[in-house]
């Protein structure tokens, strides 16, 4: 999943970005409201983390514009404003969650994960396809009861494909949601990553294929027959 964080304080932006990346998310960071708003126009994010008091453009204004444009991306307000009135005003404006500074990084990650699931209408943190199970909360993958070790980016790729189970996902969409702006993926990076992922989740010759290729269109995760 791809996350955007718009926060003017580097002291908060940097560790949050690192934590999100370490948890397997593709992360873009903006340090002022104008840049953040521009990035929401350029990319389709799964979750947006917004500070309220931002130079350039206020966080509430960004949210208002997003909702006015029909963009339903889950938004989490991350702010020092902790008054009930501020929280209520933020939620009424269309924010999906509200976290006040200071916060535990684990709590932020948990909230981001919940918001990510909400976007794909999933209530459980378990994504299942056949005997393959991906636990979004524990960040683990098991197949046939055996744990599969995946690097963060492969984990994110599998998570995204499982979230879109039954739907063909194009290479562009994968690039958009798995790689952040700094990754600059080459055209064959997605194919190589999918190939590596297939190998990683194929534990034996009996393991049924889960990720299928649709030529010229992309990839799809299907329940094994």
């Amino acid at each position: 999943m791809r996350i955007l964080i718009v926060e003017d304080s580097a002291l908060i932006r940097n560790p949050v970005t690192k934590a999100l990346k370490a948890s397997g998310y593709a992360v873009d960071a903006a340090e002022d409201g104008t840049e953040g708003w521009q990035m929401t126009l350029d990319h389709d994010y799964d979750v947006i983390i917004l500070d309220i008091m931002l130079p350039g453009m206020d966080g509430r204004e960004i949210l208002r514009r997003l909702r006015a444009a029909g963009n339903e991306t889950p938004v989490l307000f991350l702010t020092a404003k902790d008054a009930v009135g501020d929280r209520v005003a933020g939620l009424k404006l269309g924010a999906d969650d509200y976290l006040t500074k200071s916060f535990a990084i684990e709590e932020l990650l948990a909230r981001v994960e919940v918001l990510g699931r909400r976007k794909y209408a999933k209530r459980s943190h378990l994504l299942v396809a056949g005997d393959l199970e991906l636990d979004q909360a524990a960040k683990t993958v098991r197949r046939g009861g055996c744990e599969v070790s995946l690097k963060p980016q492969l984990f994110a790729l599998l998570e995204y494909l499982l979230l879109r189970k039954g739907q063909v996902v194009s290479r562009t969409e994968i690039e958009e949601h798995i790689y952040d702006e700094q990754a600059s993926p080459m055209s064959n990076v997605v194919d190589a990553a999918v190939c590596t992922l297939r190998r990683a989740i194929t534990l034996s010759d009996n393991s049924a294929p889960i990720i299928h290729t649709r030529r010229g269109m992309g990839y799809v995760v299907l329940e094994p027959r």
Binding site: D8, S9, A10, L11, I12, N14, P15, V16, K18, A19, K21, A22, D32, M53, L54, P55, D58, A80, K81, D82, A83, T100, K101, S102, F103, A104, I105, E106
Partner: protein, 458 residues
């Protein structure tokens, strides 16, 4: 606790009772006088009739037995039963004739009688209280004067007087009761606006400070109080708003660096490979910013609780200004600013040099940080008030900003993204000035120049 209504009733109700009683007594006295006058008038008429009867008698009888004229006079109905009485005395003082209704009783007789009537009160044996008129009636022919008396019973007048007294008592009590009721109702009506103000004031809390007391239908006497209350409410609301704003600013000033320190250290602990020396530099910066904020707040707190240790000395202002200018010259150079000083008439003050230095350095620091790049900062010191002026261009400031300029943690930049400043410098400067007995004010002229003025407090 005293109630206005109870006090008014306490004064007015007895007052009304006294007024009603006095009025009743007055009417009673007037009535009594009228009855007495009526009685005397009747007595006069009766005396006249008696004299006439005696004269006729004398004419008829020729000085003999005075029977026919007097008989006709005494045959009147009034002399048969109680009401009017007549008695004629001989020269020797014995009774010669009396009206039948006297029976054997006599009218009280004065010792000396004259031609002019003597009037007095008496009581008959029957207990009937009477008003008597006695006089001499001269007889011709060398005869000694006749002496007689007529009397009229007081019972009718007294009965009228009793009725009047009873009517007056009933009237006074009734009038008093009606007036009291009217008073209670009038007070209740008149006091209702005050009661409403009291109820509204009692229901006031921090969340309802935006409400105001209605001036419509308010008695004129209460309007100044209500206006004052509304004024106080407005100030209180402004104070609460400033406190709320201060809390919000403080939350941001403290929480943002704290959140940064916490997040950076948590990430470094969980993903050590992700941490870098930059993280520690940022943590150190955040800690320094927190320290600066907390120390500034402590200074303000000490100044505002009058616990600042003030040592008064004779201080020359000019060296302090020059010292502070030197301190900020580096920053001024970075921002291409020019200091224009007018310090020739700089005064000598009896004040605390340490606090004065804090005021001056904060004023110059503020100008150095916020004056537009390449502009000029004017610092003028004179021996008349204001004894120090610091002026610089401030194109972004509005007159509304000037009102908030000295608020704790206020910053023009609402996003507060500039981590180098906390927004406490001018608050500290003003508090120091107050502690020294000076006033620090800011003024924005039409040309966008802000001037800070320091005066000896008037």
């Amino acid at each position: 606790m005293k109630s206005i209504r109870a006090q008014l009733l306490g004064w007015l109700l007895p007052g009304f009772a006294v007024v009603c009683a006095s009025a009743s007594l007055g009417v009673y006295y007037w009535g009594k006088q009228a009855i007495e006058a009526d009685l005397d008038a009747r007595l006069g008429r009766l005396s006249g009739s008696a004299r006439l009867a005696l004269r006729n008698q004398m004419t008829a009888g020729g000085g003999g037995t005075r029977t026919p004229g007097l008989r006709a006079f005494l045959a009147k109905e009034e002399f048969q039963s109680s009401g009017q009485y007549f008695e004629l005395w001989t020269v020797a003082g014995s009774t010669e004739r009396r009206s039948p209704n006297l029976g054997d009783a006599d009218l009280p007789r004065p010792t000396v009688l004259a031609r002019d009537a003597v009037r007095y009160d008496g009581t008959l044996n029957s207990g009937d209280r009477v008003r008597i008129s006695a006089m001499q009636f001269p007889q011709g022919g060398g005869m000694p004067p006749l002496e007689f008396a007529v009397a009229i019973s007081r019972s009718e007048g007294e009965a009228r007087l009793s009725r009047l007294l009873r009517d007056l008592a009933i009237g006074a009590v009734g009038c008093c009761a009606v007036l009291c009721l009217l008073q209670v109702l009038a007070l209740r009506h008149a006091m209702r606006p005050l009661g409403q103000v009291g109820e509204q004031a009692a229901a006031m809390e921090a969340g309802s400070l935006h409400e105001r007391f209605a001036l419509e239908d308010m008695p004129l006497e209460v309007v100044p109080i209500v206006e004052r209350l509304n004024d106080l409410m407005a100030r209180r609301e402004e104070g609460f708003e400033r406190e709320r704003q201060f809390s919000s600013y403080l939350a941001h000033e403290l929480r943002t660096p704290l959140a940064g320190i916490r997040s950076t250290s948590e990430v470094a602990a969980k993903w050590p490979d992700q941490s870098s020396p930059d993280d520690f530099r940022l943590i150190a910066q955040a800690a320094a910013r927190l320290q600066q904020t907390v120390e500034s707040l402590l200074i303000l707190s000490r100044l505002e609780t009058s616990s600042a240790d003030i040592t008064i000395e004779v201080v020359a202002l000019r060296p302090i200004i020059e010292e502070c200018l030197a301190l900020h010259s580096g920053r001024a150079e970075q921002r291409d600013l020019k200091f224009a000083t007018q310090l020739e008439r700089s005064p000598t003050l009896e004040t605390d040099p340490r606090l004065l230095r804090i005021v001056v350095t904060n004023l110059i620091a503020n100008a150095t940080e916020y004056a537009p790049l390449g502009s000029e900062i004017v610092i003028a010191a004179t021996d008349t008030d204001p004894f120090l002026r610091v002026g610089n261009l401030a194109p972004d400031l509005t007159p509304d900003d000037i009102l908030r300029l000295f608020d704790r943690l206020w910053r023009k930049d609402a996003t507060r993204s500039d981590a180098a400043h906390t927004g406490l410098g001018l608050s500290i400067a003003r508090s120091c000035a107050l502690a020294l007995g000076f006033t620090l004010t800011a003024e924005l002229d039409g040309g966008g120049v802000i001037e800070m003025s320091l005066c000896r407090e008037k």
